[in-house]
């Protein structure tokens, strides 16, 4: 069996693990061992601001995604398998579409002279135009759009594993649809909802393209800051320490996610 596993393991060790270790190493070195790259993070208000941004934007986007995603998952779960296979393409297409195409589309849609604002101006005049791009609104919209498929799939999977006999039994006993939903369907879907929320939060914390293309200067997230330090200030030390913080942050939520999924992050027997 080793012959099957060895190539992949060696590959990952060399090209994934080592580079990660290099990042960790770089975060602690400047000449010799040092903590200055980490001290930098706590000393300048910029970093805390960016951290706050990251958490805020992730939280907002995840919340909105949950609000929009649950009805879709619920709707899909209630369809016959054939209809569901057809409708799910609405969710799969954005899932498989390049983030750049999506971001570009939003740029066209949300800009000052974009489709939405042009339509608004046509009816209500130029003064009614809304700033939807290069600000928090734009980022959250773009982020939510990206996250929706993940939320929908996670919750849908959870809903589909619910035993349909439970609902039927409740129906026979006289419960109405609202009660069935609030007392049976919703509570049973909580693990799926929790998993979806954690997953989306994890994904949004690490986002790079969406805040870069749809956000304004006050919407910089941690990934963008890492990019800034690599590209502009050439400060690899701080870029690395930021990365390590990002990993740690992500790891915390990933472990929570593993907990929710019963100790399994990936399907196994």
């Amino acid at each position: 069996m080793a012959v099957f596993l060895l190539p992949a393991v060696l590959f990952m060790g060399a090209v994934f693990l080592l580079p990660l270790l290099v990042v960790v190493y770089t975060s602690f070195s400047e000449g010799g061992f040092t903590l200055q790259h980490y001290r930098e993070l706590v000393s300048r208000p910029l970093y805390l601001l960016v951290l706050k941004n990251t958490l805020e934007i992730s939280g907002l986007s995840t919340g909105l995604t949950l609000l929009l995603g649950f009805p879709v998952a619920y709707h899909l779960a209630r369809q016959s398998p054939r209809r569901r296979a057809f409708l799910i393409i609405f969710v799969m297409l954005p899932f498989w579409t390049s983030i750049l195409v999506k971001s570009f589309a939003f740029t066209v849609l949300l800009g000052q002279n974009g489709i939405l604002n042009s339509a608004i101006a046509a009816f209500l005049g130029d003064g009614a135009k809304v700033k939807l791009l290069f600000n928090r609104v734009g980022v959250v919209i773009g982020m939510t759009h990206f996250l929706l498929p993940f939320m929908v799939f996670t919750i849908l999977a959870s809903l589909l594993t619910q035993n349909p006999d439970l609902r039927r039994a409740a129906e026979i006993m006289g419960a109405g649809p609202l009660r069935i939903f609030s007392r049976i369907t919703l509570p049973l879907s909580m693990p799926g909802v929790l998993a979806g929320v954690l997953l989306c939060f994890i994904l949004s914390m690490g986002m790079f393209v969406t805040p870069a293309l749809l956000g304004g200067r006050t919407d910089i997230m941690m990934s963008n800051l890492v990019d800034f330090h690599v590209r502009e200030t050439l400060d690899w030390g701080v870029a690395s320490s930021l990365s390590v913080c990002l990993i740690v942050l992500t790891a915390i939520f990933t472990l929570l996610l593993a907990r929710v999924r019963g100790g399994q992050l990936v399907p196994s027997d």
């Binding site: 590959f11 929009l68 759009h145 929706l148 690395s240 990936v266």
Partner: protein, 270 residues
């Protein structure tokens, strides 16, 4: 889950509201990708929605501009190489994980899948520093390697899931009948995994073709991939050609999406 119709056949108000909201979200989901398409048929170097007259002007600009074509070709090269490498490494690894039972198997699985849990920017930075010190950035090899780090976990997850549908008894039967492990793999397991491997390949190809963050970090100007060039364009000087490119990419996504759905449907009727 059955639909919640009352015996009279009418759906309750809350479920109708939920349905309405669901359809609104479906619209939100596909709208961005779809508005691109009419825009891509515009005939001028500016954004028109809807376009005043239909033409292939923007598509011509894309296909006849060497910058875009070079970037596209580079992306194609890298995507194909990444797919091949990911499959070679991943199918075997998934088989090894699914058909063995040793201490630390769970840990090893987690290790092989860990890039899924690390933010892309960190992987990009790592590769940048690591390959940079070896003066390997800017090469096609570096891009292939970088992309494979991202696609390999998904290949493994996909094949692991697919192997679960391959009846283990088939392999036992073949073994008891005298087949060596390689024969079992070649004549029983792999043929039955064909649809799964196809899905993994499609996923790999598309992910690599659309990959931007890692490519942005480790590619040089001469080795720009299509997404990197698109990113720069959107960031700095937005060009209507992007509409044509986006429409083509959306078509590619749609084809992949339908192919995956068809393969999975086949497997259920298999």
């Amino acid at each position: 889950m059955a639909s919640s119709r009352t015996p009279a056949g009418r759906r309750s108000a809350p479920s109708r509201a939920a349905g309405f909201l669901a359809w609104a979200v479906y619209g939100f989901l596909v709208l961005p990708s779809l508005i691109i398409v009419p825009m891509s048929f515009g005939d001028k170097d500016e954004f028109q929605f809807p376009p005043q007259s239909l033409s292939l002007y923007l598509y011509e600009k894309y296909f006849f501009e060497s910058n875009w074509m070079d970037a596209t070709f580079e992306s194609l090269k890298v995507a194909v190489a990444t797919t091949v490498l990911s499959l070679l490494l991943g199918v075997g690894a998934a088989y090894g994980l699914a058909r063995s039972d040793f201490r630390g198997r769970k840990f090893l699985t987690l290790f092989l899948l860990s890039p899924m849990f690390v933010p892309v920017i960190v992987i990009a930075l790592g590769l940048y520093l690591y390959l940079g010190s070896a003066h390997l950035t800017g090469t096609t090899l570096a891009l292939v390697v970088g992309h494979t780090v991202l696609t390999l976990p998904f290949v493994i997850v996909t094949v692991l899931a697919g192997i679960r549908h391959v009846d283990r008894n088939l392999e036992v039967a073949a073994t008891v009948m005298g087949a060596s492990r390689w024969t079992v793999l070649r004549r029983v397991t792999l043929p039955l995994l064909r649809p799964t491997i196809l899905v993994a390949a499609l996923f790999s190809f598309l992910t690599s073709f659309d990959e931007v963050v890692v490519s942005y970090f480790i590619a040089h100007v001469q080795q720009q991939t299509l997404p990197v060039k698109m990113y720069s364009s959107i960031h700095w000087e937005i060009s209507p050609v992007l509409a044509a490119i986006s429409a083509l990419l959306t078509a590619l996504s749609l084809v992949t999406c339908l192919a995956v759905a068809a393969v999975q449907r086949d497997r259920q009727h298999g």
